[in-house]
C-alpha cells in the first residue's frame, strides 16, 4: 500500500475544504471496507484520506422528519438493518443491506459508502432505486439533493464532484409502506458479491418499479405503470414478456462470476420470483 496522509476533520466544512484543497487526490473514508482494499491493491492512490467519522454533522444516525428518513453518511449497515423504522418502511432495503458481507463488514460499511463506490453489483442500490432515494451531497457550492437514479454513472463513477461529499441518504416515507422485495443470486450461500440482484416494489396505484444490480455498468431502474405486473391475476405469459421487455434496458456482461447469457436468463427468473414475493407481500425473494 502506498503511503498517504490522514485527516480527521471535526466539521463538515473542513472536510469539504480538504477535498477541495487536495482535489483530485483526496478520498473520503467512512467504513473503509472498500476503500482500504483499493488502497492496498493500488487501484486508488490518494494523497490524503479524509475520515468522516469524527464530523459532528455526520454522526451516525437515522432520523425521521418531514415525511423522510434521513440516514447519515456514517451510519453503518448493521444499524440500518436493526432500525425498526427501516424494517417497517423499507424492508427490501433492510434485506439487501443484511446480505452485504458478513457481520464484520456490516459493522463497518456504510450505506453512503456502498453507493459511492458505485459498484454495479452494490446490493443496496436496487432497493434505493425502487424506494426513490435522494442522495444529499455537500460541496464548496453548498448542498444539493440528487435523485439516486441520476447518481450512478458507471462502474465506480457517480455524479459527485471530487470535492463533494455525500452527507446523507434520504428516503421518502409513505403512510402505507409500499410492498417490495429483494432477491439475488450468488455463487455460494455465504457472503458473496451478487451475480444478479433484483428489487421490485408494487404500490397501490399499480405502479411497479424494478431495480437491477450486476447486469449493466450501473444499477438500473425500470418502471411499469400499466398495472399489469402488479395484478396477481395477470397471466404468466403476459407477465413474463413484460418483464423481458423491461429487462432489455440491462446490458449484462460476462465476468468471473457468470456469463452474460446466464445473467440474462437469471434476470428474468429472479424478476419473476421477486415480483411474486413483492405482490404477495412476502418481503423477500
Amino acid at each position: 500500500m502506498q503511503s498517504f496522509g490522514y485527516e480527521h476533520p471535526e466539521w463538515l466544512g473542513q472536510a469539504v475544504d480538504l477535498l477541495r484543497t487536495h482535489r483530485p487526490h483526496a478520498r473520503p473514508l467512512a467504513g473503509g471496507t472498500d476503500l482500504v482494499n483499493r488502497l492496498r491493491d493500488g487501484t486508488l492512490r490518494p494523497h490524503v484520506v479524509v475520515d468522516l467519522k469524527g464530523i459532528a454533522e455526520l454522526r451516525p444516525g437515522i432520523t425521521q422528519a418531514d415525511g423522510r428518513l434521513w440516514i447519515s453518511a456514517t451510519t453503518v449497515l448493521a444499524d440500518l438493518v436493526a432500525d425498526e423504522r427501516m424494517r417497517t418502511h423499507f424492508p427490501a432495503l433492510v434485506t439487501a443491506a443484511g446480505v452485504v458481507g458478513p457481520v464484520q463488514i456490516r459493522n463497518r460499511a456504510t450505506l453512503a459508502g456502498n453507493i459511492c463506490n458505485a459498484s454495479p453489483a452494490a446490493d443496496t442500490a436496487p432497493p434505493l432505486l425502487v424506494y426513490r432515494a435522494q442522495v444529499i451531497a455537500r460541496g464548496p457550492a453548498g448542498t444539493r439533493s440528487i435523485p439516486i437514479d441520476a447518481f450512478f454513472l458507471g462502474p465506480g463513477k457517480t455524479t459527485l464532484a471530487r470535492d463533494e461529499l455525500v452527507t446523507a441518504i434520504e428516503l421518502p416515507v409513505r403512510d402505507r409502506p409500499v410492498q417490495a422485495a429483494f432477491g439475488r443470486l450468488t455463487r455460494r450461500r455465504g457472503a458473496d458479491l451478487a451475480t444478479v440482484s433484483v428489487c421490485v416494489s408494487v404500490d397501490g396505484t399499480g405502479s411497479t418499479r424494478i431495480g437491477y444490480g450486476a447486469v449493466g455498468p450501473r444499477p438500473l431502474l425500470a418502471t411499469d405503470d400499466s398495472g399489469v405486473l402488479a395484478d396477481p391475476a395477470t397471466d404468466p405469459a403476459t407477465r413474463t414478456s413484460l418483464l423481458a421487455r423491461l429487462a432489455r434496458a440491462t446490458s449484462p456482461v460476462s465476468d468471473v462470476r457468470a456469463s452474460q447469457e446466464y445473467r440474462r436468463s437469471m434476470l428474468l427468473v429472479l424478476s419473476q420470483r421477486v415480483l411474486r414475493a413483492a405482490v404477495i407481500g412476502e418481503g423477500e425473494g
Binding site: 502506498q2 468471473v256 456469463s259
Partner: protein, 768 residues
C-alpha cells in the same frame, strides 16, 4: 482398554489455540529481521529483458535486491522429484506469479514500496495453459530439453507417462460398454495460514523456520543447495495453520535462505494470500473412462486415460499422477484393466499434493461412469457397487496389497444412513459413490519416549500437526501404553535439531507409521522396566509383565509411574525408548512400494436442484470411512466431516479462472469462493467402520483424506437423479447445471469425445 485410546480426548495444545497463544510461523519475532517482498510479472509467460532496481535500492530501509544474476550460476534448481525449479526465474517466467526478483528491507512497507519500483523490461510470450494446448503440434516447450537429458519425452510437454495393466481388455466380452470424458478443475488449498518462512545464518550453518509439512525433506533440500552438512541445517517447523498437502515441499525457502546468507541477517517472507494462490494448486485433469459390463452388472474390463495438467515445475505432482491413477479402476474386482496416466507440463503455477493425492480426479470420472452404467443397466447404484466391490483379502490390483477391509460394510452403512431405497421428494435426487486411495508406500519414522523419574513423559516426533490431530493421538497412545495421564506428557515436534527423523507428514500416514514408532518406543520403555523390575524385585523376568501402564509382578501390580521412581533409584534419571517404524521400498513395484493400507470411504447425498437457476442445495450428506480403529472418535469425525466439506468446494464452486493469456482472473479471496458455514449441507452425518483391521496401533488405519475422495461423483449422481442431466465437468456451478438443464439433449455432453462415447454405448447396448 481403560486408557485414553478410543476416547474423544481434548486436543493437546488446545487451550493455547483457543486463546491466541499458539505461535504459528508468522507469530515468530526475531531481532534484526529483514522483511522480504517478491517481484512478479502480471502475465503467464515472459522473456525477461532487463531488471532495473536502481530506484528500488534508493528506498530508505532497503538492504537487498536479489535477482537471478546475484545467485550462484547456473542458478540452483530444486524439487522433490526433479530438480527443475530455479530459485528465481532464469531468463523466462513460466507461470503467472513466478518471481523474478526479491527485496529485503527493514520494514515490510519499505520492501513493498521498493518492489513496486523495480522496473522489469519483458516480452510476453505465448503460454500453454490447457492440456490441449500443451499437447498441440508445435506447442512451445515448457521445460528446456537440456534439463531433461536422456528423457525420450524431452521434446514434448509430457513429463512422464505411467502405465498399469492386467488381463486383456481387448477380448473381454461385455454386454454394455459405458464411456465418457470428465474434467477436474484447478483448485487451490487455501489454508487460512499463508505460506511463509524465515531464514537466518546460525554459526556456520543456517536455521530455517517454515510453515513446511516435511521439515526433514526441507532440511535436505537446503543442505544440498547451500552445500552444508545436514547437521548444519536446522529446520524449525511450527504446526502449520492448515496444510492439506500444499505445504509439503519447499517453495520459497531456498530463495529466502540465499537472501539471509547474503544479508547476514534474518530474512522473513510471508506470502500474501494471492501469492499463496500462485504458489500451490491441485493438479487439474481430464480423464476418459471406458468400462465393460455384463448384463448382471459384473465389470468385464476398464480403461482409464488420465491426463493431469501440471504447472511449469513438477514439484511432487508427477508422483501423485502415478499414485492417484494407480487406483483409478476403483476398489473393484476387475478382470482386465489398462490405465495410462500422463503428467503434462504447462505455463501455469506448479501443482502439488492436495488432500487425496491425485485420486479424486480419476475417481470423479470412474465413479460417475459407474453411475451412468447403473442407469444404463437398470441396476441400483448401490447394488452395482456391492456386486463388483473387492472383498477382504482379494487382490483387486493383481500382485499388490489385497483389499484390507470389509468395504461392503462401509457402503451398506452409508446407504442406510442416507435412506437408500426410501422415496426422494420431487426436485431432489440421491447419489452415492465410493472412494479409495492408497496409503503410504514407503516410510521411515523414529520416535523417542522418555519416562522421567517422577513418572511423567517427554516424547518427540517429527510429524507436523497441521490440524489432523497427530499431537493428541500420539499422547493418547503413550498415555495408554505407559499408564501416564495425558497432562503429564510433553510432546516435542517441529524442530530437526530436537526430534528424530521422520520421512514426511502425508498420505494419512502418521497415526499408522509414527503411531507405530511411538508404540515401539513405549514398548522399549516397558521392556527396560521389566528388566529393572526383575532386578529390583529379585524376580525372574519371565514372571513379569509390563503393559498398559502397569508392572505386573507375580504377587502384585504397580503402576508404571510409581514403579519408575523405585526402579531408577537415588540417582533418578530416565528410561529412554526409541521406536523405529519402517516401510521399505519394493524394487520393481510400480509405485516403488505396496500401500501400507487403503483409505476407503462411501459418500451418499440427497440434493435439491433449482430447475430454473441450476442451484444445488445439499439436503443431506453422509460420509462413512473404514478407519480400522478410531483412536480419537471426535477427531476422526472432525477429519471426515471437514474433508467432506472441503470436497464440496471443488464439487460446487471452486476453480481458478484463467484468461486467454493464462493470467489468473480470480486471484484472491474475493473471487475464489470456498464453502462457508452457510454452505454446509442441511444435514451432515458421518460414521465409521471399525474392525480393528488396520496396520497401525490398536488396528488403526490412516484416515482424513477418504471423505473428500468421492464427494463430487456422489453429488453429480444426485443431480442426475433429480434432473436427468449428466454433467461431466466440475465444479457443478449453478450456471453449469442450468446450462445442462437448458440444453435439450442434456445427456450429450459438450465434448466430441463424449458424444462418440454415447454412440459407442448405444452400439454396444444393441449388442454390436
Amino acid at each position: 482398554m481403560n486408557g485414553p485410546v478410543g476416547t474423544s480426548a481434548e486436543r493437546v495444545d488446545g487451550p493455547a489455540r483457543v486463546s491466541g497463544g499458539y505461535r504459528y510461523l508468522g507469530d515468530i519475532r526475531l531481532p534484526d529481521v529483514l522483511h522480504a517482498k517478491l517481484v512478479t510479472l502480471d502475465c503467464a509467460r515472459a522473456r525477461i529483458r532487463s531488471i532495473d532496481a536502481s530506484a528500488a535500492r534508493r528506498v530508505p530501509g532497503v538492504v537487498q535486491v536479489l535477482t537471478a544474476a546475484d545467485l550462484p550460476q547456473p542458478v540452483p534448481r530444486f524439487g522433490p522429484q526433479f530438480r527443475d525449479r530455479p530459485v528465481l526465474a532464469v531468463a523466462e517466467t513460466k507461470y503467472h506469479g513466478e518471481p523474478v526478483a526479491a527485496v529485503a528491507a527493514e520494514t515490510l512497507a519499505a520492501a513493498e514500496d521498493a518492489a513496486r519500483l523495480i522496473r522489469v523490461e519483458y516480452e510476453e510470450l505465448p503460454a500453454v495453459c490447457t492440456i490441449a494446448a500443451a499437447l498441440a503440434q508445435g506447442a512451445p516447450l515448457v521445460q528446456d530439453p537440456a534439463l531433461r537429458l536422456g528423457d525420450p519425452l524431452a521434446n514434448t510437454n509430457v513429463l512422464q507417462e505411467h502405465r498399469y495393466a492386467w488381463g486383456d481388455t481387448e477380448t473381454a466380452a461385455s454386454d454394455l460398454i459405458v464411456a465418457g470424458t470428465y474434467t477436474f478443475p484447478m483448485v487451490t488449498h487455501f489454508a487460512i495460514e499463508r505460506h511463509g518462512c524465515i531464514a537466518a545464518r546460525d554459526g556456520d550453518g543456517i536455521t530455517i523456520w517454515s510453515t513446511i509439512q516435511h521439515p526433514f525433506w526441507l532440511q535436505r533440500t537446503i543442505a544440498e543447495l547451500l552445500s552444508l552438512p545436514l547437521a548444519k541445517v536446522r529446520v524449525v517447523a511450527p504446526d502449520p495453520g492448515g496444510g492439506f498437502g500444499g505445504k509439503q515441499h519447499a517453495k520459497y525457502e531456498p530463495l529466502v535462505a540465499f537472501m539471509a546468507m547474503r544479508a547476514g541477517r534474518p530474512v522473513r517472507l510471508i506470502l500474501t494470500l494471492e501469492e499463496t494462490f500462485q504458489a500451490v494448486r491441485r493438479t487439474s485433469a481430464q480423464v476418459r473412462v471406458r468400462t465393460g459390463f455384463r448384463a448382471d452388472g459384473a465389470i468385464t474390463f476398464r480403461e482409464v486415460d488420465a491426463d493431469y495438467l501440471l504447472g511449469a515445475y513438477a514439484d511432487i505432482a508427477d508422483r501423485l499422477v502415478s499414485k492417484g491413477s494407480y487406483v483409478s479402476c476403483g476398489p473393484y474386482r476387475i478382470p482386465a484393466a489398462r490405465i495410462v496416466a500422463r503428467s503434462i507440463l504447462s505455463h501455469t503455477l506448479p501443482s502439488t499434493a492436495f488432500r487425496g493425492f491425485g485420486a479424486p480426479q480419476p475417481l470423479w470420472a470412474s465413479e460417475s461412469n459407474m453411475d451412468e452404467a447403473a442407469r444404463a443397466l437398470g441396476i441400483d447404484p448401490v447394488e452395482l457397487r456391492l456386486r463388483n466391490l473387492a472383498r477382504r483379502g482379494e487382490q483387486f490390483i493383481p500382485g499388490d496389497t489385497p483389499a484390507d477391509g470389509a468395504w461392503e460394510q462401509t457402503v451398506r452403512k452409508a446407504a442406510e444412513l442416507v435412506g437408500w431405497g426410501t422415496p426422494v421428494p420431487a426436485g431432489r435426487g440421491r447419489g452415492i459413490a465410493v472412494g479409495i486411495k492408497p496409503g503410504p508406500t514407503t516410510g521411515l519414522s523414529y520416535a523417542t519416549v522418555r519416562l522421567l523419574a517422577d513418572g511423567s513423559v517427554v516424547m518427540s516426533s517429527g510429524t507436523s500437526d497441521m490440524g489432523q490431530g497427530a499431537r493428541t493421538v500420539y499422547v493418547q497412545i503413550a498415555a495408554e501404553e505407559l499408564g501416564v495421564p495425558m497432562d503429564r506428557i510433553t510432546l516435542l515436534m517441529g524442530d530437526t535439531a530436537v526430534v528424530c527423523y521422520d520421512q514426511q507428514t502425508s498420505a494419512s500416514r502418521s497415526t499408522v507409521l509414527m503411531g507405530n514408532a511411538i508404540t515401539y518406543a513405549c514398548r522399549e520403555v516397558q521392556a527396560q522396566l521389566r528388566t529393572m523390575a526383575a532386578r529390583h524385585c529379585q524376580v525372574d523376568e519371565s514372571a513379569i509383565e509390563v503393559a498398559r501402564g502397569v508392572v505386573r509382578l507375580p504377587d502384585r501390580q504397580i503402576p508404571i509411574g510409581e514403579f519408575v521412581r523405585l526402579g531408577l533409584g537415588r540417582l533418578g534419571g530416565e528410561v529412554i525408548g526409541i521406536g523405529e517404524s519402517r516401510k521399505e521400498h519394493v524394487p520393481g513395484h510400480p509405485l516403488s512400494g505396496s500401500p501400507v493400507f487403503f483409505e476407503f470411504n462411501c459418500t451418499a447425498v440427497d440434493a435439491e436442484v433449482d430447475a430454473e437457476t441450476g442451484d444445488i442445495l445439499l439436503v443431506r450428506h453422509v460420509t462413512v470411512s473404514d478407519v480400522g480403529k478410531a483412536i480419537n472418535p471426535m477427531q476422526v469425525r472432525g477429519q471426515d466431516e471437514g474433508a467432506a466439506i472441503q470436497g464440496l468446494g471443488h464439487t460446487l464452486m471452486e476453480q481458478y479462472i484463467l484468461d486467454e493469456s493464462g493470467r489468473i482472473s480470480n486471484l484472491g479471496a474475493l473471487d475464489y469462493r470456498i464453502p462457508t458455514s452457510m454452505d454446509l449441507p442441511l444435514q451432515l452425518c458421518s460414521d465409521v467402520v471399525e474392525n480393528a483391521d488396520g496396520p497401525g496401533p490398536y488396528g488403526a488405519k490412516g484416515m482424513s483424506e477418504g471423505a473428500l475422495l468421492c464427494v463430487a461423483p456422489a453429488v453429480a449422481a444426485a443431480v442426475t437423479d433429480a434432473t436427468g442431466a449428466v454433467i461431466r465437468d466440475l465444479p457443478l456451478t449453478a450456471e453449469r447445471v442450468w446450462r445442462a438443464l437448458s440444453t435439450p439433449a442434456a445427456d450429450s455432453s459438450p465434448t466430441a469425445t463424449a458424444t462418440a462415447a454415447a454412440d459407442e454405448q448405444r452400439r454396444c447396448a444393441d449388442g454390436t
